[in-house]
Amino acid sequence: MMKTMTSTALASLVALGALSGAAQAEIRLGASVSASGPAAFLGDPEAKTIEMMIEEINAAGGVNGEEIALTLYDDGGDPNKARTFATRLVEDDEVVAIIGGSTTGTTMSILDVAEDEGIPFISLAGAISIVDPVREYVFKTPHTDRMACQKIFTDMQAQGIASIGMISGTDGFGASMQAQCKEVAGEFGIEILADETYGPQDADMTPQLTRIRDTDGVQAVLNPGFGQGPAIVTRNVAQLGFEIPLYQSHGVASNAFVELAGLDAAEGVRLPGTALLIGDLLAEDDPQYKVVNDYIAAYQAKYDQEPSTFAGYAHDAVALMVDAITRAGSTDPAAIRDAIEATSGLVGTTGIYTFSPEDHLGLDLSAFRMLEITGEGWKQLD
């Protein structure tokens, strides 16, 4: 019984494999993102972006005259599944490169397979540990959470803020950024007087915020997190009548956040964001103007939504990959890897990428823009 079940299942797997590998003269690109599950907030727009861009590229004649055959899997945010899909992409679908890893956990699972098999992999996750130490085949597009902390602290320093309270989500994004911020705060002469957390599904953070409010000397609140948490924190801060500024992270840099928190509560919130958020505010001679606005227009036309910052990471990963394959002029994974590493001055939505053997992130702090939410929309502060 079990045998027939298993072999039926295996047969269907083989059939699927044969289906995806049927056409010749094509570039096989793999992707594994968290389009469902707790990280769907990140992975869903990423998947949409990857699919949209590959369609566009193929419609425009492909890369070096060859079509890109995309195999995209939804790992549901589960690192175990992500590893299985990475193995499948490499061993079964025989892809030449992988994009994906919406969370740090799934990235770390894919990364192992990519390194072992020598397949270039561009990750969409934040943690600095992905590219530090540098791994031969692993690159990433988002800035690190450490950079977000540095950007925020730079702004605080300029405002004369020296002591803050932190309230962080206990999900991967929040916890990782919390740790990074605590590490670099000293470099900016900033002291963290209160350090609170909340669960990703919590409905009310007023107890934690009351503790922060009642801590003597707190001059600002910083909230690393994504999803509903920061929206509720923002609303609770307004409810409690805080008179000190609230800083959010790049995790909520989107108009949807302003809607969820309500403009009344969100007004005055500061956060580091990317050019993607302020496409309409960019000067026409801004190097990112065209890339950003073309992408926003295409995404909106196709999905009737605004692309999020996370979607932008996927955009940049595809752009980097396609650029590298074009320059490599071959579908040899090692050649593509070398071409990615040689990328210089590629303009993405997140920033302008220049990789080197020592730097597989290729962005600096200038990619971040410090933004403030105002009644008229986003305002760039620097």
Binding site: A203, T206, A231, L240
Partner: protein, 290 residues
């Protein structure tokens, strides 16, 4: 002092959310001894359907009414299609069936709606009410009021109405209930419809505070289930007290001990209570039928 009051406000708000979810468990459990793990999905549906109906142009009260009716219909369908055919299955099979239903509803919701977070405006604005230095949002009062109304409604239903007593009789002994002329099939349909409606009402009330997305049901069901068990499953009083206790416990832990371990403290207390009172605080003592 105003900090303590703030913690209490927070605890009661969150506790009322848990209580509303926990109350939804009681009717189905009373009618059939089934703990419906899809109860959280009813809450999610209440929120999501309201959001999308509102976006489509319906006024908020109408959208909410539509959401509650539609969810009640889904509850009835769940009973007809999944619970009734599995009559007499062991507890573990029923758990798997309702978890399966929860996964199915979530899967459908992500296809029909979307995977984004949503919210609609609070019913009475967002201006906090100040009491002795602490603040509470008007929407919290709606949630607390909702929990109380549902509680009293259920209490009256089970003690004062013939139908409510029929529900209890069905749970107690299905065959005997049928013998005295109770239409047990109708009782089950009614229970699922009512439970789903209460879940959806909870979703409508809490969405302005907690926000809603297709996957919020699991977390809510988990906390509501824990609250119901703490108070004693099947007893509306238990659901209300269990929910409020859980919310207050979390808020006090976050306020005075550590926000990192507030959920942990909540579960440790639940474990401790169950060790002393294996049927929860207000649970009925039962003896095993041999």
């Amino acid at each position: 002092m105003d900090a303590l009051l703030q913690f209490i406000f927070s605890g009661v708000t969150v506790g009322a959310v848990y209580a509303l979810v926990a109350l939804g468990f009681t009717i189905i459990y009373n009618a059939s001894d089934v703990v419906n793990f899809a109860q959280g999905e009813f809450v999610m549906l209440g929120g999501m359907i309201t959001v999308f109906a509102h976006q489509a142009g319906l006024p908020l009260p109408l959208a909410a009414l539509l959401a509650i009716l539609a969810t009640a219909a889904i509850g009835v369908a769940l009973n007809k299609l999944a619970i009734e055919p599995a009559r007499g299955a062991p507890v573990v099979s029923l758990i798997i069936i309702t978890i399966g239903a929860s996964i199915l509803i979530r899967g459908a919701a992500q296809l029909i709606f979307d995977k984004q977070l949503h919210r609609f405006p609070a019913f009475s604005g967002d201006d906090p009410i100040r009491v002795m230095g602490a603040t509470i949002l008007p929407q919290s009062l709606w949630v607390i009021g909702g929990a109380l109304v549902v509680f009293f409604g259920l209490w009256l239903f089970f003690t004062r109405t013939l139908t409510g007593k029929a529900v209890l009789a069905t749970a107690n002994n299905r065959v005997a209930a049928q013998l005295v002329g109770i239409n047990t099939s109708w009782v089950m349909t009614l229970s699922f419809g009512l439970s789903a409606a209460i879940g959806a009402l909870a979703g409508v009330l809490v969405t302005p505070i907690t926000l809603v997305a297709y996957d919020v049901g699991v977390g809510l069901a988990l906390k509501g289930f824990a609250a119901a068990m703490l108070g004693g499953m099947g007893n509306p009083k238990g659901a209300l007290v269990g929910g409020l206790a859980l919310g207050l416990l979390e808020a006090m832990t976050a306020g005075y001990l550590s926000s990192q371990y507030k959920d942990a403290v909540a579960f440790i207390v639940i474990l401790a209570v169950l060790f002393v009172m294996p049927q929860g605080i207000f649970g009925k003592k039962s003896t095993e039928r041999v």
